[in-house]
Subunit: 207 residues, 4 copies
DNA sequence: AATGAATGAGCTTTCATTCAT
DNA sequence: GATGAATGAAAGCTCATTCAT
């Protein structure tokens, strides 16, 4: 990569970082492009060389952070020796939840702006850089490994993700109506229920 | 109520209606106070006699609509003859979901702006006009009637509400990843699971 | 007229005057709305209460000034005792030319921005305030009085107006290629030629 | 001409062509230097190696196109066998008018930006490339050939040119207030009148 | 109580121009 | 000579809010 290209990457990165900081502290609507440029130590006009507008930048930001979150969880999962599908799913969920619990700013940002549409696209199309292997591919592999059959794997994922996202948001940020540990107890139980409900009980396969 | 007071109520109401129409059609950030005042056929200055600003008005609007939704469901529940707690909870859930499915504009508006904090306050403190009886009171009465015990009724309600709210939003608006009927099948099952998990199995009570 | 309405009229007038001054000294494209508002001693936002944008204001300005020019000429014509059509047309032309010669700023402004389309509309539809009598009506009356017939009165007017407008512009502003007096000598001759060429020689009508 | 010099000429030419295309389609004020450079497939900075700014380029463009117009007309005139001065002048006028009628974009561009000052300079100083012979020289030669005397040849040319330019503009573009053929009928008559008025009737030359 | 003219800060966006590569 | 990233001034326009009427 040429020196110039590197400098451009840096500028872009600086804008992303500056914007993230401002979006999460003041909110997106209260952040102006002038603010972002100033925070990134460059001229207002420079912003427009890298992003179409505030919302373009926001979308890039969400995709990047959400992808990161799942990549880390997947990586750590591969280091563990877990047997059941339930254990694996809960491991990922727990990993993500813990990360968000420690990075409340990120939680606030992602939760507010993440729709299933964006999320789904990100899971399916994201992660092309290293291996062309997406998170959704990993999820399918997980199901495969378990050698169990499920009626609608996508609906199953959808329900799990939405349940986690919606219940954790308030609990992590406000400790309301319960604290996180108490929620987890229930949550992971319900996740097991969801998986169980989706499973197609195959006939007694042996003999 | 004096004639003058009635006129004031009418103005306030006109502003609420105008704002709702604009918020749901153009979005809150794209709606100016001038727009609202014009839509309500009054002068800009008049707005400030009734609301502090746009966001003040929005909060009033959400509370009003959400309360309405649950009031209607509760009313219809009282006309039904349902036995189990599960049936009653699902009846309410189904009632609200169907209403939102038929009024997608309302769904969009409520979903985007409803936090557990606002929602909880609304359930607990709202509904003072007629009888001083809130939705949360009704929920507690429901549990009581069932003669069953639950570890944390508030958490239980929280999880059910959040699960419904988060999974239905996308399904109703985009039919993604499944259609509403398919979601309901799973959803009501998971609600039963949540209730069941929360129940404290009391000792064999007879004998 | 109420006090408030009078104040509004004054503000509008102030903007027109300020804009005229700036348009003619710096040119329209070099004049910003901020400039106009400052020159008129008011806030930028106030401009938009009276005009849509710079070009809206410009059009109002042209119409107003052009109308004024012809109104004055017509008024003075009515005080004169002139016999032939030629004399009357030349009187008007001379009146307008002299006025523009003494008000070169106005000349510069009108000439640059006046198209036949705008001009024609202004002549035909303008002048409704006092009597509903337009300049074009007056022109037609003039032809009528002369008891002579012309093939295409509108084309005749068009050619005369365009000839005057185009030849005088440069002569008045630069004294090039001749001075105004010398131009007039030729110009008025050519105007007579134009009229003569357009006339339909009616048969010897008597006996 | 060296290879390098040729390349420079080509770049310059590319900029002129790109600018003409943009000026005539979007207007000069709506065309940015970035637009021109992009249209000419080069970097923004390169523009400044060839022209001072947008208006510098525009002036070069007008001069070039206007000169072309008259050169073509003169060339074709030399192929005709016309006797009177009037016929020749009208031939040129007709030639130019027809060309502009078929190239309305050029008409729009030239008409809007052509002042007598620029035009005169162009006629007198332009055309140095081939023979050092200008259009104005040709005009004078024409008068000479006719063996007639005129009071002020420059004023005569001025009036003819301005009359044509101003009356044709609107007629060609809008067909208002008459169509082009009808205008020509009058116009060429009036041109004859102008010439006739300028002529100095010399004494009875025979005997 | 109701009005709506006036304000001016502040927004997004464009763009001519410079200059290191 | 050619590039195009960077600049930052300046444009048009919006809008919440105030206040005299």
């Amino acid at each position: 990569m040429s020196k110039l290209e590197q400098k451009k990457k840096q500028k872009r990165e600086a804008l992303l970082i500056a914007a993230f900081s401002l979006f999460t502290s003041k909110g997106i609507h209260e952040t102006s492009i002038a603010d972002i440029a100033a925070e990134a130590h460059m001229a207002k006009g420079t912003f427009y060389l890298y992003f179409k507008d505030k919302y373009d930048l926001r979308d890039k930001l969400i995709a990047e952070h959400a992808k990161n979150l799942f990549d880390k969880a997947s990586l750590d999962l591969s280091k563990e020796e877990l047997n059941t599908l339930e254990d694996k799913v809960i491991f990922i969920a727990d990993h993500v939840i813990n990360e968000l619990n420690e990075n409340k700013i990120l939680l606030r940002f992602i939760s507010k702006n993440l729709s299933w549409g964006v999320f789904h696209d990100m899971l399916v199309t994201g992660g092309e850089d290293d291996s062309g292997f997406t998170f959704y591919d990993g999820y399918c592999a997980l199901l495969e490994q378990s050698a169990r059959k499920f009626r609608n794997p996508e609906l199953m994922l959808y329900m799990i993700v939405e349940l986690i996202n919606s219940t954790c948001h308030n609990v992590i940020l406000m400790q309301e109506p319960v604290d996180l540990e108490e929620l987890k107890l229930e949550l992971y139980g319900v996740i097991c229920d969801i998986i169980h409900r989706q499973e197609i009980e195959t006939e007694w396969e042996t003999s």
